[in-house]
Amino acid sequence: MKRTLPQSLALYAGLAVIVLLIGLPFWWVMSGSIKLPREIISRVPTMVPQSFTLQHFEKLLQSTDFPAYLVNSLLVALFSTVFTIALALPTAYAFFRMKFPGRAALYRLILVAYAFPTVVVLIPIYGLFARFGLIDTRASLVIVNIAFALPFSIWMMRSFLASVPRDIEEAAIVDGAPPRVILLRIMAPLIAPGIASVAIFTFIASWTEYLFASVLIVSDARRTIPVGFAGIIGQYQIDWGLLLAGATLATIPVVILFAFVGRWFVTGLTEGAVK
């Protein structure tokens, strides 16, 4: 159906509003990071930079531990994502297909993990990790991130598994494929959008996690971006240029993840699966 001119105009106007709403804060942060301090703090904002400097990025990368925070965040987020997917996929498949006592109750019970505010479990987890010598390790953050991302990831994966036609799985069973093969060779490629969704959810949750990262990590060298960056910025005196440069660099890995994972996983995944 061909759109009329008013319809097209309304559509593009709507799109422009959405792009502005989403893009303006990013533009504000990124353009601000290359302005001179006087222009940044001016009460009359400039949408297009009237000055240009890379001094904030130089200061951030040369005078602070931001590069170390960036590496730590990447390691923690990547490991959390990989392990969450590795655990969520077989668990969701087990809940979806296998029969065992208490399956339905257990499936509902796993979401109880979200019933408690995270701060409530902070002190017990600290004590537990201290006993196992995990305080001030990146592994502690990976464990916590997995623990909090896993229940929702299982639920999400199970929903995607339920959307795969039963015929495909039955064809594999007829061919004698064991459950492991069915899961990894047949189901996993078909629910790749689900895996991508879980990956993005876990990566961003790990990337932005503050509470546990601030308490479980003690030394500066192991801090992740949210905590380390908060320290760089300071409390009473804020270096706005440094803040904007750090915020710009901190968003890049997430933008890359969206661009890369989104295209890699989602394009034409189920095409030709069922004839």
Partner: protein
Amino acid sequence: MRTRLLAVASLASMLLAGTAYAEPVSLTLWHMEQPPHRVQRMQELLDEFNKAHPGVQVKQEPQSWGEVYAKAPAAFAAGNGPDMLFTIPDFTTLIKGIDALVPVDDLAKDLEAKHGFVPATIAPYQYDGHTWAIPAYNMAISMWYRNSALKAAGIEVPKTWSEWKAAAEKLSADGKYGIGLPANKQLYTDQTVYSFMVNSGAADIYNEDGSIAFDKPQTVEAYQTYADLQKLSPPDSTSWTWGEAEACFASASCGTILQFSVINTYETQAEADPADLGVAPVPHADNQSDSATISYSNAIMLTTKDEAKQAGAKVFLAWLLEPQNYGRFLTMEPGLFLPVTNDGAKAESFWSDPIVTKYKSQVETMVANSQTGKLFGFTTGKVFPSIGAISGQNVIAETLQKIVVDGQSAADAVKAGQARMSEIAAK
């Protein structure tokens, strides 16, 4: 007991002499000076100390104020807390409450005799018959302005609230705001509102028996004046913290603000003339004769039960307050951290810092203002544990929001504030 004291004294002597007959005492210091330049300056000082004292080795682990209230109790409960911990008065009550704190009476007495503490800096740490921390640096709120702006408007530096209001009204022209006062439910607003309260005779929020003494005519007067002046502030000031107020001043958009210091931002972001930067005591109520202010004395607590570590920590703290070292400690944030000792206020190591030298007259005024500092909940010589919750829940700022945001009268808002504080104190 006597034998134990002798043993500790002997160990302290050995450590002081820098001897290394045994394994060195390793100490962990948690501080909340997390910006990189402060960590670097602290490391320089620690390297120097560790080199001069092979028997005591101190390492730093920077934390942040945002997390330490949860992190420190968890760390002490798990048995891996620090040996020394930076503090402010209400945080000290929290750490004392979990029995992780060691009194420093003798050391405080020695340091008082040697360097002379500014009374306002040590008083918030002296209660229940002990001294609970050694003051390290002071921060006090002052009124900041630009000389050129006042001169152009033909006004003198305001000393009283009515003069301040007249000045702010005159400075509110050409898209600029005569004053920048926050009204956020946040610590900065607690601090600026209390700066008004101490200048109207409403400094005490507790009675001697621990009941709340917030609702009184002087408090209402302070809130009413604050709310009137706040109307001359930028509309976004209801969400301000320290940084936004500083930016407003540095960009010459706010004529006057209350702040601990604006020197660093003025120097690095405003790129303006140092001689144009003005600082003065916070104006007082018209019926008062002198100005006072809010001051935060940051201090260092001893949080180890190990006697050898305690002795080592005392050596370090005594070394840090020596004038030749102390100035370099203070100038980790030049123009913000002020001396807590009388000889620290004269130390060459403090006044020779390039930024302090450049803004000498302003820093001198800040030091003078800090002498009149008070802190809510720590003014009567008695400390009540509920001050931690009153401060943490920003009840003082919340009371202001009832006037500025909800439109209540000052009297009603203060009455509600009294009820809220009493409710917290009763728990």
